[in-house]
């Protein structure tokens, strides 16, 4: 199995390099909204002194960290897989003795991510010198813990997106469903506004959803804002959500493949 992943990596890594320019466009598009939130909230906080206790530096550190977490935990499985179901290219992969979504697509996504992060690092450094954040609250332990937290977040996000992508077995409208899902992430992950600034109701709902695992939770972890209890809670909820999303994905996938093979692969 290790060899499969190694070779998949070689193939997908080489493949991603073929689309460097495309990747740069994607990266810029991706960066627009978080940087805009960063700029807007910082200037509001500067004008008012603070927003509900959030100072300008709080916003800057929050969004600078969000940029990293977003890169690590987000996924593009809908774009690398959705069309395969719709145009039938999946057939070639289904007759191979490996799971198309949990091997090839996953590695493709990770290769994409690594290349994106390589392109993104210099931009982050530039932003760092532009906004001069004060990261004095960050401790090494938080940063180290954030790595497994973000990896966990990535897998939860990947499995949920994979389940949504597999809806393409039934509907061609899967892209709009995924857009709706992105709106939920925007709202409940802490991407649009740091969660504590959201109405109480949204914060309460967010507690029961997996989305803060993608951003709010690892951000707070890195910034050293969580108690030990909160850290444990986060990991436990991450593991539970990974279980739920895996079961959900497997169920959608199994039935989807059955349907695919019923209507004419």
């Amino acid at each position: 199995m290790y060899l499969i992943f190694q070779r998949l990596w070689q193939v997908n890594w080489a493949e991603q390099w073929q689309y460097r320019a495309n990747m740069l466009m994607y990266l810029l598009y991706w960066l627009v909204s978080p940087i805009m939130y960063l700029a807007v909230w910082t200037s509001i906080a500067n004008a008012n002194g603070s927003v509900n206790g959030f100072t300008a530096n709080d916003f800057i550190t929050y969004y600078m960290t969000l940029l990293i977490c977003d890169q690590v935990t987000s996924n593009i499985v809908i774009h690398i897989f959705g069309y395969k179901i719709q145009d039938g290219t999946l057939s070639g992969e289904l007759v191979k003795p490996i799971h198309p979504m949990l091997t090839n697509a996953l590695i493709n996504n990770i290769a994409f991510k690594v290349l994106m992060i390589l392109g993104f690092l210099p931009i982050w450094v530039i932003l760092f010198f532009l906004f001069k954040p004060d990261f004095s609250s960050v401790a090494l332990s938080g940063v180290l813990l954030s790595i497994p937290a973000m990896i966990l977040g990535f897998f939860v996000s990947y499995m949920i997106s994979a389940a949504i992508t597999a809806l393409a077995f039934w509907t061609t409208r899967v892209y709009s469903i995924h857009e709706f899902y992105f709106a939920l992430i925007l709202l409940f992950s802490g991407q649009f506004v740091p969660l504590p600034l959201m109405p109480k109701l949204v914060q309460d709902i967010a507690q029961y959803l997996p989305f803060q695992l993608f951003m709010y939770y690892p951000i707070q972890l890195i910034l050293g804002k969580l108690s030990t209890e909160q850290i444990i809670q986060g990991f436990v909820s991450g593991v539970i959500w990974l279980g739920i999303s895996t079961v959900l994905f497997n169920w959608v996938w199994k039935n989807g493949v059955k349907r695919y093979s019923a209507v004419g692969a």
Partner: protein
């Protein structure tokens, strides 16, 4: 030993959404879709023994590809049973997938943007092929298909024929015991077709693999297969030796004649006149097999004939006749 492929009463009915053109119909179909049943394959039975090369023939839409997809596991049938190498294909068991291959025309097993060599190595890992076995198989494939010069170029820079060679090779690296080939020579020029055919024949001889192939090119079938299965409108029309086909389906012979003043004789009273574009100098008639001797002696007695030949009708015509029955 039990047959490699057993197919019993295999059927597949597609439900195809159907609506009239126009806005009203579009709105109605949004709420209540009408479906039409399309019977792609109807209660087909056949058995294929290990090492056989069988040609699967039929016009477009006859159900060939549907049958092939069911046997490779991509499609669930609506009825009947199929067993290949002891597996039920549509359970998609990894052990089954590792012992067969499906090559579908232009569908790529290879990654478009990278050299085929990388995709080959990936397949080696996926199919768990030990290094020494991989090297051996690759060497054999290279001998037969001359792959080496193609390996380093990105697949998208290969010509259609080169790509097809690589596709087929990629599908055979794991030495599958059963090969399902859907139009393996489609889009290739004559040399390319001949190459692939020779390769498949050699592969079958060397490995004893069972091959089931569909093709539009009759030459593929006549060159490779001793047995053919003809399917039309989802029904099995013929299953047997290619040489018996003309006896069973069209028990006719062609009589070709060189005549002095070829256009001044009425041949229709001897048999049905047939056009032969390849050999316009000769006149041809088609007669029933049992009448050949009688008609020939009559012709020789009646007409100024320089030369006479008696042949089987071309296989294309025979199959055409089978479809029209």
């Amino acid at each position: 030993m039990s047959p490699t492929i057993t197919v019993q009463q295999l059927s597949k009915t597609y439900q195809v959404p159907e609506r009239e053109g126009g806005f009203g119909a579009a709105v109605r179909s949004f709420f209540k879709r009408k479906y039409k049943d399309v019977k792609a394959v109807q209660q087909v039975d056949f058995k294929i023994e290990q090492g056989e090369v069988v040609g699967f023939l039929g016009p477009n839409g006859a159900g060939k590809t549907t049958t092939l997809k069911m046997l490779s596991g991509l499609l669930h049938p609506t009825g009947g049973k199929a067993e290949v190498l002891g597996f039920t294909p549509w359970e998609l068991r990894p052990d089954y997938l590792r012992s067969m291959t499906l090559v579908m025309g232009q569908r790529n097993r290879l990654s478009w943007d990278i050299p085929a060599a990388d995709s080959f190595l990936l397949n080696q890992a996926i199919y768990r092929i030990p290094d020494d076995e991989y090297k051996k198989t690759y060497k054999e494939l290279d001998e037969l298909l001359e792959l080496e010069p193609l390996m380093k170029k990105p697949v998208r820079n290969l010509s259609l024929g080169e790509r097809m060679k690589c596709e087929i090779a990629a599908g055979l690296l794991h030495r599958p015991k059963v090969l399902f080939l859907d139009e393996p020579t489609i889009g290739l020029d004559i040399t390319g077709q001949v190459r692939i055919r020779e390769f498949l024949r050699e592969y079958n001889k060397r490995t004893g693999a069972t091959i089931l192939l569909t093709s539009h090119y009759m030459a593929d079938v006549t060159a490779l297969c001793e047995r053919i299965i003809i399917i039309h409108h989802g029904n099995l029309k013929y299953d047997g030796g290619i040489s018996d086909l003309s006896k069973k389906i069209a028990p006719f012979k062609l009589i070709g004649m060189m005549l002095t003043e070829p256009d001044s004789h009425d041949l229709s009273k001897y048999g049905e006149p047939v056009q032969n574009e390849e050999d316009a100098a000769k006149k041809y008639i088609q007669v029933k097999a049992e009448d050949v001797t009688r008609v020939t002696s009559k012709l020789l007695a009646d007409l100024p004939i320089h030369d006479i030949t008696i042949t089987d009708p071309p296989i294309e015509d025979v199959i055409e006749q089978a479809f029209n029955q």
